[in-house]
Amino acid sequence: MAEPLLSISGLHAGYGGTEVLRGVDLAVGPGEIVAVLGSNGAGKSTLNRAISGLVRPWRGSIRFGAAAIERESPVAIVMRGLIHVPEGRRIFPNMTVRENLDLGGYRARTRRDDNRTRVFALFPKLAERQGQNAGTLSGGEQQMLAIGRGLMAEPKLLILDEPSLGLSPLLVEELFALIRSINAAGMAILLVEQNVVQSLEVAQRAYVLENGVFVLEGSAADIRNDPNLKRAYLGL
């Protein structure tokens, strides 16, 4: 792998007195799709929250490009181009689709119109509904909007946190095709998912998180054939 875009080493994080991440190391190279797999409560969301600055790590380092970002604010991290599309979408339900997208480009205001055009080309549905309140969109459309909002911030690395959660199988297919096409344009993606089969199909490499540590890591193909995958994933 070339010089990694994101590299995490020895990361510990948690809430109050409870340690959730107990020392994780992870790297994402330029243009890569890396999957982080794990069941509920394994620590996936905490990992994402630590990367994007929502949770202050207890120990360890997070580097993005040449910069150490583990002490930076969420705003500073967004401005570096590390964009986190959160679990549960967290769109602005009381605002229109277009306003949601424009807020996604809050730190890239000068190129907002161009970026919006690009997002609409990727998601024609959103262009059709740009005047509609985001809260009235279907679950699939809301997920598209959340990703579109993330793309408005001109990411160098996009973190997708459980994007397939709550989507119908057909929409999940569509979503993973979309992830592939965003990546084909050169964008690095950290895909954090419970959907093992699909994630391993799009990712080049993967990590399996269990109880706050990575129990498996390697190429997607190796992980898929690893007999320990089932054990780690199902907690057997």
Partner: protein
């Protein structure tokens, strides 16, 4: 039933008073809607603004309407600084702490005013204070008509800011979805402070509209905030439209119950409505039901 000759002026005067109530409530509901806290320092800050308007006239000879042009930005900055450097840091992100910090702030401001200016009640004399507009069916005091017009303009400007500016959109985004906003690169601490500043700026305007016909002492603001709180509950916590319509409504209720029950009992109607709203529609007229 009273004749329209008495009723109509009472309703019109109620609307005029209600407009200023609405402005005080607007600041309170704006802060509630975004920070999700009741600002207990609202009354004390209104009092401080009234002293500001009073001394701008007494010491600098400024007309209160001119003083508003200075006090409004000054109180925006004051509100911004209070939230950014005192309330925010002191609360450490816990809502219940913010509540206590604003309560503490209210105690400090009120007692500082009491210490500096004593408990005396003061008024200013303006040449136009007793001028009236004759509508044929009612006489309306000029300062109160000006106040009504000013509140409508302020509400419109605030609406435009919230609807069309990037800062306004960021405020609305933070109000509904804080984490989502943070991940868009919106500085939540800054948005909180701007919101608090806007709410406090509303008070400076309200103070300048009140001082021509009202008095100031270190507790003068509290009466308004108690009514404003009723309006916020009536209109729906966090609803700007609710604050405006609720304010006008409460003004009329106060005026009419004063008419029927006697001047000193005018506020009974307000608190009766407060209790009825709490009993039958706790989310308020325009509030989102949870």
């Amino acid at each position: 039933m009273l004749s329209p000759i008495i009723l109509v002026p009472a309703i019109l005067n109620g609307l005029l008073t209600g407009a200023v109530y609405a402005l005080v409530a607007l600041g309170l509901t704006l802060i509630y809607g975004v920070l999700h806290i009741i600002n207990f320092a609202h009354g004390a800050l209104l009092t401080a603004a009234m002293f500001g308007a009073f001394f701008a006239h007494r010491l600098l000879g400024l007309d209160p309407y001119v003083a508003a042009l200075l006090l409004t930005p000054a109180f925006f900055v004051l509100g911004y600084a209070l939230q950014r450097f005192i309330i925010g840091p002191a609360s450490g992100g816990e809502d219940r702490n913010i509540l206590l910090v604003t309560l503490g702030l209210a105690v400090v401001i009120e007692n500082a005013l009491l210490y500096a200016f004593r408990a005396d009640t003061r008024t200013i004399n303006l040449p136009y204070a007793f001028d009236v507009v004759d509508l044929g069916i009612a006489f309306l005091a000029v300062p109160r008509v000006i106040a009504f017009g000013a509140v409508i303009v302020v509400a419109l400007v605030l609406w435009l800011i919230m609807q069309w500016t990037d800062t306004g959109k960021a405020i609305r985004a933070v109000a509904k979805e804080k984490v989502g906003a943070e991940l868009c690169g919106i500085d939540v601490a800054h948005v909180y402070a701007v919101t608090f500043g806007l709410g406090t700026a509303c008070l400076a305007i309200a103070a300048c509209l009140l001082i021509p016909t009202y008095y100031v002492n270190p507790h003068a603001g509290n009466a308004f905030v108690l009514i404003a709180f009723t309006i916020v509950v009536l209109g729906g916590m966090g609803s700007v439209t609710g604050a405006l319509i609720g304010g006008l409504f409460i003004g009329v209720v106060e005026s009419l119950s004063g008419l029927y029950l006697g001047e000193s009992l005018g506020q009974i109607g307000i608190f009766l409505i407060f209790i009825l709203v709490l009993l039958f529609r706790p989310s308020g007229l325009f509030g989102a039901r949870t």
